[in-house]
């Protein structure tokens, strides 16, 4: 029995380690000079650690990662706060009030959750071009805020149904209005769910590539994900630069995951994952 458990441990850990080899490779490529990794990062007779690749992509002349980072934050933070606030209002409306067509409207929103990004992008592109919002951060924030709504509404609606009505009713008897109840009682009680959803939405927006690719065209507006392919190099693939940029790009979502991974996984399992 002891030996059996040992074997299972060995197999399980071997698989987990094998799974991370590609990430280890990228990390190794990011901290070593190009000549050392172009023939294989696993050759370690010569092993020079350098931060030059990071510096090169951070201060790249046309598409610096430093600016891309700033842009990604400018996009991702409002694109997390706005839809969560708007969706919380709507989800509460669905849970605590009844009105004509409520269930049909809710079902429509649920179905929208699986909509491909390609289905909305052309009209949004045409609309934003006309309104002067194309190639602006605001234009992308608005689209992300709207596109994230369906799954956040679903998630929060499911959560709100688990909240005890009695507390709200007691507050209503004390003369609190619907909005006071929502802001002073419902939102504070929902903090764990709100954190879960923020973590997922932030990472989703940070990781998005397609919307940014279409809506942001000037290099000074580029977000992180858009910047990586630009650093590819003209005549040969700059694995060293691409690796450093990749590590930088994933550092943010990984940090969020590491710090809040209970909330993150609760979000993934709690409803459905965003895709």
């Amino acid at each position: 029995m002891k030996i059996r458990a040992l074997i299972i441990h060995a197999i399980a850990w071997a698989i987990a380690l094998a799974w991370t080899i590609p990430f280890i490779g990228v990390f190794m490529a990011s901290i070593r000079p190009y000549e050392e990794i172009v023939g294989g990062w696993w050759n370690i007779e010569k092993f020079t650690v350098t931060l030059e690749n990071y510096w090169a992509v951070w201060t790249h002349p046309t598409a610096p990662m430093s600016r891309a980072f700033l842009n990604s934050f400018i996009i991702a933070i409002p694109s997390t706060i706005i839809p969560i606030f708007v969706a919380a209002l709507a989800a509460y409306g669905f849970v605590r009030f009844s009105f004509p067509l409520r269930d049909m409207l809710f079902l429509t929103i649920v179905v929208l959750m699986s909509l491909p990004q390609q289905m909305v992008i052309l009209p949004v592109f045409l609309l934003e071009t006309r309104l002067g919002l194309w190639n602006t951060h605001i234009g992308l924030i608005l689209l992300h805020s709207a596109f994230g709504l369906p799954w956040i509404i679903l998630f929060l609606r499911n959560f709100f149904t688990t909240l005890p009505v009695e507390v709200e009713e007691a507050a209503r008897i004390d003369g609190a209005s619907d909005f006071q109840i929502f802001f002073k009682i419902v939102l504070p009680m929902s903090l764990p769910a709100l954190i879960s959803i923020s973590v997922l939405q932030f990472n989703w927006v940070w990781n998005d590539f397609f919307f940014a690719l279409i809506l942001l065209v000037s290099p000074e507006n580029f977000v992180v994900t858009q910047t990586i392919p630009v650093l590819k190099g003209r005549y040969y693939i700059r694995w060293d630069h691409m690796a450093a940029a990749s590590i930088l790009a994933m550092s943010m979502p990984l940090l969020v995951f590491a710090l809040l991974h209970k909330y993150y996984l609760r979000g993934v399992i709690g409803g459905t994952v965003k895709g």
Binding site: W19, I21, P22, I121, A146, A249
Partner: protein
């Protein structure tokens, strides 16, 4: 009738109508319009006929088992047929394997990293591991004596698509594993202990207790995997740009090409491809939702 519920819903409805519902309906409308350069009027099903007669969308002239390019629609189907069973089974096996392992949470997090990182980074990594000289895949092949196979796997039409599919299994399996792990937690230990006392082998327990009780998790895993695979875009864009010669293209990428890459842009056919993709995706989603509601 009180106005409050509408005030709660109003902001969401405005955003959804302006940026999701309105655009969706408008894309559907555009798919019936001749729109190359500028809108030229209603043409019925012409855009749909055009995309279905394109070899880049569906290539029926090739015999059934010949290598890509077979057209984006068939590539998407291959993606589902290969990716979904693989990642589902792998996710289940990993979840069961890591269930009672010391440090299992950390091991699971390591496998889950692919889901946390941007898909673009996933794509870059795939391109990197498949590279002829810098890639670990070829180093492993050389070590086990298969050096003659070594090549940049994403650069050849017969291997590009399958390399990407396997790579995307690597990225996505963490999700399947996490859902199955959550499902496993709902199975009481006593049940498994009781079966052991009755003399059941591990394999029997797995087949007759764990797998049936995980059916709800399997529904979630398969559904989300199909939806995810249908929408794949980022890794195709970053690794192969749909190439070589359209050998790894998918519907989402063809839509992008028609609308934003090819000159002149053809919004009509791009909208038709988007509508086709949406029809498949929503059709599948509605089918599953109805199954679950029942």
């Amino acid at each position: 009738m009180r106005k409050t519920p509408f005030l709660f819903l109003l902001p969401a409805l405005i955003l959804l109508i302006l940026f999701v519902i309105g655009p969706t309906l408008f894309t559907l409308y555009m798919s019936f319009i001749d729109w190359t350069g500028k809108a030229k009027g209603f043409v019925g099903l012409k855009n749909y006929i055009e995309i279905f007669s394109r070899k880049s969308i569906i290539n029926l002239e090739k015999p059934p088992l010949s290598p890509p390019p077979r057209g984006a629609l068939i590539h998407n189907a291959l993606w589902i047929l290969i990716h979904v069973p693989l990642s589902t089974v792998l996710g289940l096996v990993l979840a069961v394997l890591l269930r009672n392992v010391k440090g299992g949470t950390i091991a699971k997090s390591m496998i889950f990293i692919g889901m946390v990182a941007p898909m673009v980074v996933g794509g870059i990594i795939l391109r990197f591991i498949y590279d002829e000289h810098a890639g670990i895949v070829n180093a492993i092949l050389r070590t086990v004596g298969l050096g003659w196979m070594a090549r940049t796997w994403t650069a050849y039409p017969d291997t590009a698509l399958f390399s990407l599919i396997l790579g995307s299994v690597w990225i996505w399996t963490g999700f399947c594993m996490v859902v199955y792990s959550a499902g496993l937690e709902t199975i009481p230990d006593e049940l498994i202990e009781a079966a052991k006392v009755d003399g059941a082998t591990s394999l029997q327990i797995f087949r007759h207790i764990i797998v049936p009780l995980l059916k709800p998790a399997t529904i979630v895993v398969v559904t989300m995997s199909v939806l995810w695979v249908l929408k794949v875009f980022d890794i195709v864009y970053v690794t192969t740009l749909g190439g070589p010669g359209g050998a790894s293209t998918v519907l989402a990428f063809e839509m992008y090409m028609d609308a934003f890459f090819r000159i002149p842009a053809n919004y009509g056919t791009a909208a038709a491809i988007a509508s086709l993709l949406t029809l498949i995706t929503l059709g599948f989603a509605v089918y599953v939702i109805r199954l679950m509601v029942r």
